[in-house]
Symmetry: C2
Subunit: 207 residues, 2 copies
DNA sequence: TCGTAAATTGACTAGTCAGTCAATTGTTGC
DNA sequence: GCAACAATTGACTGACTAGTCAATTTACGA
């Protein structure tokens, strides 16, 4: 049984991630993946029946990793508001730390004719977010917008913020941008309360 | 001289747009494009030296069209705020009406190894937006965020809103979602003023 | 130490695709 | 009605690629 084990399988997945981000799915021949991973062509097809299965596997594990990262420390938060803010914070952190994986997911999400099954399964990992958004609406913490719209703008703002952060070198400016991104979405979705609310809460956050 | 003229050239571009959105750049062979467009293989390469040149051309003209649509009626708006709101409104309208072109641009933007030149030239069409954002910040109408961040979240929110609108059939709900999208970004970027500001202004808009 | 099965190899195949080019047709000015 | 050039055709090629498979190596339990 060598599903999770095997150095070679791991090497193939990691190499594939790098190459896909650099050159795209179609610009990356399986021969190149195996070569760079230091294995023979046949080995790749021993672990993954097709190239598509390799891509899907990579997508699913990456999404799962991202979802797990977003939930970090969630139990400790008491309020819905606190949880939403923590999720956002975790997401930005993860995205900044895993730029490649982020790019890969984006590329995948915007490619037509890439396994709808994998797409759906990947999305399902984020259903917990859906719950919190509904809860937030129910509690009157965030505006009563169409929930899929809310989830969509949150996700797209996230990747936008991460992309901008990646362009910036100065670490101080990076932090500023992360703050501004949080501000933007929070002001965009929160129902009311005085405008300073954001700033006060933020400075109380640990880390 | 057949640069803008020629039915065949036009047919190739239109067919290519459809096929690219349906099947992706690499999933669409030039042979299929010419076949569907009702021309011979050679004709495609008579008008476009390479497949990449075809893609770039399509991208540039699509971006140009989008930019033009966003500027519609801009001269008539007096205030920066009014202009920003009109641009957003135009953008949503165009995106909803041109879902395919929207998808195409998105696909293009997220593909690696697609001509950086075209990408940059496409972006330059939207420099006017940059101006208005700077002006808005200068006038204290919108928050003093990092301008590239602002442009990024605006663009990504836009495509998010349009994607969601496209999923919805009920025209009433569509309008609601468009309103909510506008609300979201406006609350996200506007500096202050009472929260009702948005609603009041919106109902005064014509159309 | 041996036998069996899993893991690994890489030369090979069958198919695909971007781009070519010599030949044909259409167009325009004279 | 013809010369010159532009537009159009489609069979063809050279390069490349996903996936195969028979042969070889490795791992390991008895």
């Amino acid at each position: 049984m060598a599903d999770p084990g095997s150095d070679k399988r791991e090497a193939i997945l990691n190499t594939a991630l790098n190459l896909f981000v650099e050159r795209g799915f179609y610009g990356t021949p399986t021969s190149l993946i195996s070569k760079e991973a230091g294995v023979a062509t046949g080995t790749l097809f021993f672990y993954f029946r097709t190239k598509e299965e390799l891509i899907d596997t990579l997508y699913l594990r990456t999404k799962a990793g991202a979802a797990a990262a977003m939930r970090r420390g969630l139990e400790e938060e008491e309020t819905t508001q606190g949880r939403l803010r923590l999720i956002w914070h975790n997401a930005v952190e993860w995205g900044v730390q895993n730029r490649e994986k982020m790019q890969f997911m984006e590329q995948f999400a915007h490619s037509p004719f890439i396994s709808k099954t994998a797409r759906d399964e990947g999305l399902s990992r984020f259903s917990f977010l859906h719950e919190y958004v509904l809860q937030g609406i129910g509690e009157g913490v965030i505006r009563d917008y169409d929930p899929p719209l809310l989830l969509g703008v949150l996700a797209s703002s996230l990747s936008s913020v991460i992309a901008r952060v990646a362009e910036v070198n100065d670490p101080g400016l990076r932090d500023v941008i992360i703050e501004q991104g949080m501000d933007f979405v929070w002001n965009g979705i929160r129902l009311e309360g005085d405008p300073k609310d954001t700033k006060i809460r933020r400075s109380k956050e640990k880390r």
